[in-house]
Subunit: 192 residues, 2 copies
DNA sequence: TGTAAATATACGAAAATAATATAAATATAC
DNA sequence: GTATATTTATATTATTTTCGTATATTTACA
């Protein structure tokens, strides 16, 4: 009963792909098994039910995101560089959570999974904010900036990316990110 | 009972989005109605069942693709320009058929829809090949080139786009397309 | 107000799904 | 080659979901 079994891993990565793309409800255990080349019986050897698979999968993704985030924060780099890397990380999709996956929860069904996701997300935010505070104390960010404000910045970014009027103003995504980072880091006041 | 009803259109465009993204089986009529802001009853006023909706939707997409294709073929332009535009059209997704949508059929389920899609696709190919022949007779393409070969070229293109080793060789998608078009139009023999 | 269209709701039958049980097949270790 | 442990194929049951219809209500609108 090796917990690091190949099949076990296959199930999780397949689940991530499919839940991410189509959402939780739309995917059946059987289809996940088929795509992962695992029989249903081996599936139920590792996971007691469908929800538990989603939890494990989500947990893995969040943990991976946390790890990458902390790596960036520990790097010896400026605030602008850090922020840019964090945004890129988010946009690469490794860290960002698929709306398809979240959709099911916010329609009211699957309250157990919804609670789990919310709690886990909150826990992550606490961690990230703490890292921000440390970086702040180390002098990387302005002292009177509230790290909790990062949540709001995240939402701003999402809004900007989804706004076609804004994206149309830039030739490349990179340019848009740099502009955004500069705004967040330096504000709109002229530099001296 | 206006056949050009707004609701009727809403259903089709929503179905296209969702079938395209998640496939036929995974989408329920109810969810399509919900996303299209149409009650189930009005849905069944316009469509007798789920398959008929998929057929209508597919038909619309193919017809739209045909129209755009013929427009390009009728234009006063060189073979290279035409081919490039056709490829771009395909890549924009307006014309290309989502693999998610096709997947259900090739697993054996839904034989009726499978038959319909195959027949409709064949009919389209016949039309397109005919247009190619006309263009050929008009001197736009080499006389001893078999238009039926276009099917094979299509498959080549799909293979190339999905091959990361190849796409990595080009900075932009445009470059890759141009290279491919040049190969198809002029071959690899040196130009005099 | 009166008429046509759209909706919400409920409903039954059929199909799909989650989860379990059992026997056969495969792989691995000795 | 045999024994042991995994994995699979298949069948099964209870529970949901889904399809498609019927009815009663609400909305649009002329």
């Amino acid at each position: 009963m090796a917990r690091e079994s190949k099949k076990h891993k296959d199930i999780i990565t397949t689940a991530r792909e499919l839940f991410w793309k189509h959402g939780f409800k739309r995917m059946s255990v059987e289809e996940i098994c088929r795509k992962a080349n695992v029989s249903k019986m081996t599936y139920y050897k590792y996971f007691p039910n469908k929800i538990e698979l989603a939890k494990t999968m989500f947990n893995n993704v969040v943990e991976e995101g946390e790890k990458q985030f902390r790596m960036i924060m520990k790097e010896d780099s400026t605030a602008a560089e850090k922020l840019e890397k964090i945004i890129l990380l988010k946009m690469e999709g490794t860290n960002s959570i698929s709306p398809e996956f979240l959709q099911d929860f916010y329609t009211g069904s699957e309250p157990e999974l919804k609670a789990f996701v919310e709690e886990r997300t909150k826990k992550t935010w606490d961690l990230l904010i703490n890292d921000f505070k440390e970086a702040q104390e180390a002098g990387i960010f302005r002292k009177d900036f509230k790290p909790e404000f990062m949540v709001i910045i995240q939402n701003m970014l999402i809004g900007i990316i989804e706004d076609e009027n804004i994206t149309a103003m830039f030739d490349t995504r990179q340019e848009l990110i740099m502009e955004f980072v500069n705004l967040i880091i330096y504000g709109i006041a002229p530099r001296e």
